[in-house]
Symmetry: C2
Subunit: 351 residues, 2 copies
């Protein structure tokens, strides 16, 4: 299935089939990762589904077969070529080196390794060459970061980046199954009977919550700091000024970002639209054809990053735009599988 109408023709299937393990297979991202592996016909010789002890023992289906979920322990990585971590940072921190020690390449969706200098942080359309220097672990950026850099990279290449201001509107699935279930429980509760918030700092149904992850002593949320540092690393702009506020919204799937971008060289909206539309994996909504705007609903089940509302900023600071991406697919699972495909293409997965 080509859900985006734009996916690259590159297929991993040219290579030999691989032994692949998925840690966190029972989570929100893990589930989508299995879907994406199947959709993209990833060349599997063997698929091991792993999870924390709590979830081990359950069964998941893949390609019509029921697979038992095993506990993620170091020995489970013996003989694996490739291990996807779609689990908590703790699990990845402990177990990723164990997988690498056993000869596997790890593609990690947690935040554990992203800022390590020896670990490439990769969005394949943006910085695939970073993979060449990997030493066993490759990090997949935060779901919000991926959508943002997919919109920034074409502008960077065309006109250089001077400054970025971002306000994100993030779906509850960015907080995993717990986030989805918390919204659902509040939506279906009778007035006054909704369970107290636990995943989010306040009720999320019929509300927005300007806090993603915990605050540091300076009042910045962890998600905001991630977006700043990861964007700088991926775009190789170590001191790019990035102003960011992250807000959780009552949407199941699809992260949005309101962006204000100051470029080094002048860039008018028409040229920006052209650069964006020419970038692989990006689709531009042209609202001059009617009041059509990008929304999270447009990326449900899709990998394409959709950008619209491209215009000159009313404050004279450059370009304003609005970007949406599916946080579970391009923001997580699809990007991780694309990393694997790119490793194969570049001959970087040999044991």
């Amino acid at each position: 299935m080509d859900s985006t109408g734009r996916r690259s023709d590159r297929r991993a299937s040219e290579g030999r089939p691989l032994s692949v393990a998925v840690v966190g297979a029972t989570g929100a991202v893990g589930e989508v990762l299995l879907d994406v592996l199947a959709e993209r016909e990833f060349p599997l010789r063997e698929l091991r589904l792993l999870a924390s002890g709590r979830s081990a023992g359950t069964y998941l289906s893949y390609g019509g077969r029921q697979l038992r979920v095993l506990e993620a322990r170091p020995e489970a990585f013996e003989g694996a070529d490739l291990v996807f971590f779609a689990a908590t940072g703790d699990l990845s921190h402990t177990l990723a080196p164990e997988a690498v020690a056993r000869g596997a390449v790890v593609i990690d969706k947690s935040s554990s390794w992203r800022m390590s200098p020896a670990v490439p942080l990769v969005v394949p359309e943006v910085n695939p060459e970073a993979l060449d220097a990997h030493s066993g672990i490759v990090a997949c950026p935060n779901c919000t970061t991926i959508g943002v850099v997919m919109a920034l990279a074409p502008l960077q290449r065309t006109a250089g980046l001077e400054r970025v201001v971002a306000t994100t509107l993030q779906a509850v699935s960015g907080a995993g199954r717990d986030g989805i279930e918390e919204l659902e429980a509040q939506r279906s509760a009778r007035a006054g009977e909704a369970p107290a918030p636990s995943t989010f700092a306040a009720p999320i149904h019929d509300n927005v919550v300007p806090l993603c992850d915990a605050l540091d002593d300076d009042g910045h949320a962890a998600e905001e700091i991630k977006l700043v540092h990861e964007t700088r690393k991926i775009l190789d702009l170590a001191s790019l000024p990035i102003s960011v506020t992250c807000v959780r919204v009552p949407v199941a799937v699809g992260h949005s970002t309101s962006l204000l971008v100051s470029t080094t060289r002048p860039l008018d909206p028409a040229a920006a639209r052209e650069a964006l539309a020419a970038f692989p994996g990006v689709e531009v909504v042209d609202e001059s054809r009617g009041d059509v705007v990008p929304t999270p609903a447009d990326v449900v089940g899709r990998d394409t990053v959709v950008v619209g509302r491209v215009r000159s900023d009313t404050g004279g600071q450059g370009l304003a735009l609005f970007q949406v991406a599916n946080n579970l697919r391009k923001g997580a699972a699809t990007n991780a599988v694309q990393i694997a495909e790119t490793l194969i293409e570049r001959g970087l997965l040999t044991r």
Copy 2:
């Protein structure tokens, strides 16, 4: 009732009771306006409820009495001291001069008169002195603008304003009853059976829509342009650079704004919090006491503008903060009634 814990002690009841008309009494703002007049014990001698021909003939209750809604026609303003317009721009454009011609002062919630040089555009805590020059019509700002200027004014007074970047997250009730009903209908519909969007450009349930009102030829939404021009007029900063993106979110009541504020003189977060907390009608959430953040749910039924997430911007441009206000109360009805109270106090309502 003092729903905010902060409302001014000023009461209009010191003056003589007035003959008051409300145009648009059956709308979302009109309904709240009647509540606010009653809560604040506005000194009424007579209350005339008016609406377009479509809604005339229905009954609304006020102070335990059932009042018949009459058609808003020029003759209906005979003998009125004060007329609130909480109706469409068209109705206000046509009828406000008729009310003024009959000796009434008009407080208009529509956008018809806001940018007319002869019409004061007033948030009573911010620029009450602008009322002194009125010549019959006083404009109440857009619901989004009111919350934003309530947060900006204390920073302006303390450190001057250099530049503002705003992304709004606006409740559906900002689009009136139609907006509320559209969200409700989509929420209660079975999967795949939701009625097509009409008030908003895309489904609003489980989605966000980065379009409030129509787009102009340059790709700016009318709501965005309003926020720029109205903020400049109220703060008396004709060329303040304001970058703005307005987004509709699936929230019934309460507009939020993510703000980035560059001040003329240095202003640290502690001093900003102090200035904000000292401003009448503003409450500051101090998240250093735990992960507590301002959300729309905090302003349901309240007039206070709540500000939090006050911090130094990660991009080095100044202060970041997050502001929420009840768009139907302080953003509309309460601000209109406060304008009336201020007119009385300043002796500006004499016929």
